[in-house]
């Protein structure tokens, strides 16, 4: 039997040693705080608008909102450089906006219009922008984990130092192909950061009711993949952990697992009234840990901005979102001829 590089006993204590040492998040500069504030607020307002438009019947089908989880993609995106890839599952609007995709194109895809990123043929769960390094937007829970492993394969094959961020949830973490991919990625030392967004509910089933091992950062231990838990509500913690993980991959050390401790304020999808948890639970986390409010308070406390200046930022973000909603409402429906395009060449 081959001897693993980092030998672990079966005990939790020994297993824990495989987790890398946590990085203490460095304070953000004023510019970084402002950037994080703008980026997170854009996602929040966009998702709120999408929820409204869904309620008005302008968006049909599925619509999984990212509200509450904004710090995860915002912090991770700050660690990337040109040529890096991002791939995720179906709760994907936040990832697209973080990658710099146009809010109009994303919203118009939600309404299924011609100007949507997939001309209305993809919908909420299926959008791509190769130009921005975003490879979807995937509807089958966990499927993107092996696809992201393959994106990282190309980086290794072409000898670039690019990295693929592969996002999935605590629910997807219980799918089988995740572990096939972990094994392959570590075996081949592929530059992929597996980011497990633990929002505490796998659809409507709480983590403790769906997962035998609830510390998802340890899910890579038997493959020798280092992992750590991160405060996914603090964008500074996300960025700090992300930088370390991304550097680990760029240096050719293979994959890395980050478990982002986060929370989704809304239901799993628009049709989920979230009766499996209390209103108090949501209000408590929202009141004490909201990722945007944290940045806002720091900006004010440091006297980096005034309330008035924040209001101006809010107004600008609202303008972008309103413009996107306007476009997505009035853009024409796709031409029926599109039924037959982009299937086979």
């Amino acid at each position: 039997m081959a001897v693993a590089k980092k030998t672990q006993a079966a005990s939790p204590a020994a297993a824990r040693s495989a987790s890398a040492d946590k990085v203490k998040p460095a304070d953000f500069s004023k510019e970084q705080e402002l950037q994080a504030y703008r980026d997170m607020l854009l996602i929040r307002r966009f998702e709120e608008k999408a929820g409204q438009m869904y309620g008005m019947g302008l968006i049909g089908g599925f619509c999984h909102l990212y509200i509450g989880q904004e710090a995860v993609v915002t912090g991770m995106q700050m660690t990337l450089k040109k040529g890096d890839q991002v791939i995720t599952g179906y709760r994907d609007h936040g990832h697209m906006l973080a990658c710099g995709m146009d809010a109009k194109g994303v919203m118009a895809e939600l309404t299924g219009r011609r100007g949507g990123y997939s001309k209305g043929k993809g919908g909420s769960m299926h959008m791509f922008s190769v130009e921005k390094g975003f490879f979807g937007g995937h509807g089958i829970v966990g499927a993107q984990v092996s696809l992201g492993t393959g994106l990282a394969f190309t980086n290794k094959y072409r000898k670039t130092d690019n990295v693929c961020l592969t996002y999935f949830g605590d629910g997807a973490a219980n799918q089988g192909q995740v572990y096939e991919s972990f094994n392959m990625a570590e075996l081949w030392k592929l530059p992929v950061v597996y980011i497990i967004e633990n929002n505490r509910y796998a659809m409507g089933t709480a983590v403790h009711r769906s997962s035998a091992q609830q510390d998802f950062s340890r899910r890579g231990i038997s493959f020798n993949i280092p992992g750590e838990q991160v405060d996914g509500m603090d964008v500074r913690a996300v960025k700090a952990a992300g930088e370390k993980a991304v550097q680990w991959c760029r240096d050719g050390n293979g994959p890395y697992i980050l478990e982002m401790m986060t929370y989704r304020y809304r239901g799993h999808s628009m049709s989920d009234p979230a009766k499996y948890r209390t209103r108090e639970e949501v209000e408590k986390i929202r009141g004490e840990q909201d990722p945007i409010e944290q940045v806002r308070q720091r900006l004010l406390k440091n006297k980096w901005v005034s309330e008035d200046e924040l209001k101006k930022i809010d107004a600008k973000v609202r303008d972008v979102v309103n413009e996107a909603a306007e476009f997505a409402t009035h853009d024409p429906e796709p031409d029926p001829s599109e039924l037959w395009t982009d299937i086979l060449r």
Binding site: K121, F128, T154, Q177, N183, M184, I343, L344
Partner: protein
């Protein structure tokens, strides 16, 4: 010109494409150092090295997922799924991921990959390692499906599949690996979506695929020699795209249609061909189209029983003879 086995043709086809294009990578279980469980990829690891010819863990989902991720970023992977029955293990990638990526991304992410897989019965492997599952893939919009019957077609269609911008599922028949055929020297590149008339005839059209092709040819010889029936044998080669024109033209000349399928009867590919001919050439037919298939049962491991259920030369001869009333 040289005589080559179907098995060696696989390795030659892959080598031809890997030599031509450095973006072609080949991965699968036991394909590299071991040369493949069917010894169809011997020598590739030695020729192209461990970066491009890769043994994988026994993880079909990770193999196809990684292949697709690599294809989305510009590589041209050839992935092997050892037995086609295992397509069921990784069907998400075949059914939901490969064929939808171009469509759902507005053409931004393409999926130029080939999945090679050992298909079909005759090796006494039993119900989980003997199936003909090309019909599982034929039914999915966004896939191309190929199944060669001869060494030269293996090379030419494999080359066409690798160069194709779409995902191609490439069915090699396990019982054909040891068969031989003449293969020209030099580069061979064929076209997907083209059927081949292997034996012209005027009395009946027999459409066959993969292992059923040599059986149909032998049956046609017997029909001609012993019963005076002149049957035309068409090798479909490619189920998607399907060369309907060659099939319809043949039926237009012979006025009778027979399909020889290894698929279990329900929803075998022959049903689709019969349906197309009924739609488009009904009045060319002088009698009902006849499907010669495996019955709708799991395949047995026992050699005697397995031989009973696959379409045989004798069954083809008898069916055609009886249908033509001679």
């Amino acid at each position: 010109m040289a005589e080559l086995t179907y098995r060696d043709a696989v390795a030659r086809g892959i080598a031809q494409e890997m030599t031509r294009d450095p973006d072609v990578v080949f991965l699968g279980e036991d394909v590299a150092k071991a040369g493949g469980v069917f010894k169809a990829t011997v020598g590739l690891y030695e020729q192209f090295g461990p970066l491009r010819v890769r043994d994988t863990p026994i993880s079909e989902q990770a193999i196809l997922g990684a292949a697709m991720g690599a294809a989305m970023t510009g590589l041209k992977p050839i992935a092997e799924i050892m037995f086609s029955d295992f397509i069921a293990v990784c069907f998400d990638y075949i059914a939901n991921e490969f064929p939808k990526s171009r469509y759902m991304s507005n053409g931004q992410t393409k999926c130029p990959l080939v999945v090679r897989t050992g298909n079909g019965a005759g090796s006494r492997f039993g119900a989980q390692h003997s199936q003909s599952v090309e019909n599982w893939c034929m039914m999915i919009p966004g896939l191309k499906v190929v199944a060669p019957s001869s060494p030269v077609d293996v090379i030419g269609l494999l080359a066409a599949a690798v160069r194709d911008p779409d995902p191609v599922i490439f069915f090699e028949h396990k019982s054909l690996y040891a068969t031989k055929g003449e293969v020209p020297d030099g580069e061979i590149v064929d076209r997907l979506g083209t059927a081949k008339i292997l034996r012209p005839g005027k009395d009946a059209t027999i459409i066959a695929l993969a292992l059923m092709v040599p059986r149909a040819l032998e049956a046609a010889d017997i029909l001609h020699r012993e019963h005076g029936i002149d049957a035309e044998v068409v090798d479909v080669r490619s189920l998607v795209p399907l060369d309907t024109q060659t099939i319809l033209n043949s039926v237009g000349r012979t006025h009778r249609l027979f399909t020889v399928e290894e698929n279990p009867r329900l929803c075998g590919w022959g049903a689709e061909i019969v349906s197309i001919v009924a739609d488009e050439a009904f009045y060319d037919l002088d009698g009902p189209p006849v499907r010669i298939t495996t019955p709708h049962i799991p395949l047995p491991a026992n050699d005697f029983l397995e031989d009973m259920v696959l379409p045989t030369v004798n069954r083809i001869v008898e069916t055609v003879k009886r249908s033509l009333g001679s």
